[in-house]
């Protein structure tokens, strides 16, 4: 078994593009759930709208990278408004039901051949990153970064992805420490109390829903730009649940939590994958095949989550007094 390779692959996830994409989506959820108490079970749809919006603007409208980014964000913001207007006046559970249903509906709409001219049907869209990679200042070639070797484009997408994570994290820290963030936390605790103090609760919840959705859409854009392919099968409800896992691992009402949660989650997935494969290859696990390893590791993720709920319900960084699983 090649332990050096297992270590390198695992460490590589620390700066992986998917790690950054999930961190962004989870930061959006932290805004929704951790700071406002909104139960959004459709973060995959926000990410998908970012991804499809970007690809559509590039491929069909022939916009440049900036315009495409803006269009992806706009799609997510409009989606948040459409979901929010009817549901944010109702109790929290309604938003959960509506977001999960809307995300499923969008998932099927993106995959159907009916709209293939725009969405590419079940094949999805590809080759929309030319302008994005055109901005890459790093000369072409392969670079050895110590533990992993990456191409210039792979480095470029990582710089942009983690740059976005950093910018979003700083903005969220500023916002959550402002009086605006205080009003949101108040709403999380008791809407009616905040209403009785003269705050327009609906507007605050809408702002939070749009902001968290837009951050999620950035995650979606980053996710599909890495391979320049956007397939509908990416945006299944599993995407949402993995985002929730990442959020709860790190701590729901924290900013650093979702970022570290994402890194730990993907390193854990990569480690179990490579380590179990190694064990299968040397014949230590005769009851498992290589193909089964991919499934087994999610089982281990579930076990890991259960242990977390029991022993550290506030996540890695959460304040035990402030925010726990029971919300």
């Amino acid at each position: 078994m090649d332990f050096a390779q297992i270590f390198n692959l695992t460490a590589g996830e620390l700066i992986g593009v998917f790690t950054a994409a999930y961190a962004l989506c989870a930061l959006g959820l932290a805004m929704h759930f951790g700071y406002t108490g909104l139960l959004n079970f459709g973060q995959a749809a926000f990410a998908a709208l970012g991804a499809y919006g970007y690809a559509f603007a590039t491929l069909n409208l022939h916009w440049n990278m900036w315009g495409s980014f803006a269009f992806g964000i706009l799609c997510a913001a409009v989606f948040a408004l459409i979901l929010g207007i009817p549901t944010l006046r109702l109790r929290a559970d309604y938003l959960a039901i509506v977001t999960i249903a809307a995300a499923q509906a969008l998932y099927y709409a993106f995959g159907t051949s009916q709209f293939a001219a725009v969405t590419g049907g079940s094949n999805g869209l590809s080759e929309f990153g030319t302008d994005f990679y055109g901005y890459n200042p790093i000369p072409a070639g392969r670079y050895n970064l110590g533990i992993i070797t990456l191409s210039a484009d792979e480095i470029w997408i990582r710089i942009v992805a983690w740059g976005l994570v950093a910018v979003v994290a700083v903005l969220l820290v500023i916002l959550t420490r402002s009086p605006w963030g205080r009003a949101l936390k108040g709403i999380r605790e008791d809407e009616d109390a905040v209403r009785s103090l003269g705050k327009n609760v609906f507007v605050y919840k809408m702002q939070s829903l749009v902001l968290g959705g837009v951050i999620g859409s950035l995650g979606g854009i980053v996710f599909v730009l890495s391979s320049q392919t956007n397939q509908p099968s990416t945006w299944v409800s599993n995407f949402t649940f993995m985002t929730w896992t990442v959020l709860l691992l790190g701590g729901a009402a924290t900013i650093l939590g979702p970022i570290v949660g994402s890194a730990v989650f993907f390193m854990f997935l990569m480690f179990t994958q490579t380590f179990l494969e190694g064990l299968v290859n040397i014949g230590a696990l005769p009851f498992l095949s290589i193909a089964q390893v991919g499934q087994i590791r999610y089982l281990l993720v579930g076990l890991f989550l259960m242990l977390l709920v029991i022993f550290r319900p506030q996540g890695f960084f959460g304040n035990k007094k402030e925010m726990q699983f029971n919300g």
């Binding site: 605006w180 205080r182 009785s196 103090l197 003269g198 007094k321």
Partner: protein, 289 residues
């Protein structure tokens, strides 16, 4: 003990729904139906400005429902009401609060996982930092925030919560939460404070200071309307008492007169209201004497 405010409150005869010399809140024909039950059916009600008015009545009389209706937390089937001449019917609760009519809740709504001082800060109005875009630029709201915090500290001191400043509200006792909720409501300098059972669950030692706070509000020119079951408190601090039963206003007047009203005694106080239960033998009550 007795009512110290001898100024004239009612304009004309004292009767249920009578007109006041200087009303701050006037309600007309407010009804709220829950299924077949007419929970609130108020033909006319005026709340006098600058006074402490108690709203009393048996459980299920519709007191809290009337509070909810007047503050926009519930919608009536019929009715109009205005606050300082401004129509309030159909106005959203946060707007009602901004206009200076702030309420507290029967089941205390302290924001548990915010600190005591953050609870207080949230009570202030017109903080520019509460807007989404201005929140990004601290210099736009830092000064206001400073002023708000100073005001909050003064109030916390007055309500003897200053030692708990940095604690989560969840760590306060039930009585302290009542105090916090009242102090928080005062952060907006309201014209009318509506307190829903401010004494429920407060220990006797705190009761006296709470009473003083409420009287202090009046001295500062704030109108107070409160729901309470504690007759001692009602007698002690209110200038005017409104009695509700089965959704209707059945009596109103100065506390001493209302307590003697036979309809009120029958509906609410009971025959032994003025006796110390310690001196009345249980057998006498059972026999209906």
């Amino acid at each position: 003990m007795a009512n110290t405010d001898n100024s004239v409150i009612a304009k004309g005869a004292i009767e249920p729904g009578c007109a006041k010399v200087d009303p701050i809140l006037v309600a007309d024909n407010v009804t709220r139906q829950f299924g077949g039950n007419l929970a609130v059916n108020v033909a006319h009600l005026e709340i006098p400005r600058g006074k402490i008015t108690a709203l009393i009545g048996p459980n299920g009389a519709g007191k809290t429902t009337l509070f909810n209706l007047l503050t926009g937390f519930d919608k009536p089937n019929t009715g109009t009401w205005n606050f300082e001449g401004k129509n309030l019917a159909g106005v959203a609760p946060h707007r009602v609060a901004r206009w200076g009519m702030v309420r507290t809740f029967q089941l205390t709504k302290a924001l548990s996982l915010l600190t005591v001082i953050d609870n207080m800060r949230l009570g202030a109005q017109n903080n520019p930092g509460e807007g989404f875009f201005k929140a990004f630029v601290k210099p736009l709201w830092a000064k206001q925030e400073q002023e708000i915090t100073e005001r909050a500290d003064v109030l916390l001191k007055r309500f003897k919560l200053d030692a708990k400043r940095e604690d989560y509200a969840a760590a306060l006792s039930g009585g302290q939460r009542k105090l916090l909720e009242m102090a928080r409501a005062l952060m907006s300098d309201p014209k009318l404070v509506m307190l829903d059972e401010p004494m429920a669950g407060v220990n006797p030692a705190l009761t006296q200071s709470l009473l003083d706070h409420i009287k202090g509000l009046k001295d500062n020119g704030t109108t107070v309307l409160f729901v309470e079951h504690d007759m001692h408190m009602v007698r002690h601090i209110s200038d005017w008492v409104v009695v509700m039963a089965e959704g209707k206003i059945v009596a109103e007047g100065p506390p001493a007169d209302v307590m003697k009203n036979q309809a009120v005694i029958d509906a609410y106080l009971g025959a032994h209201a003025n006796d110390d239960l310690g001196t009345v033998s249980i057998d006498a009550i059972k026999e209906g004497n």
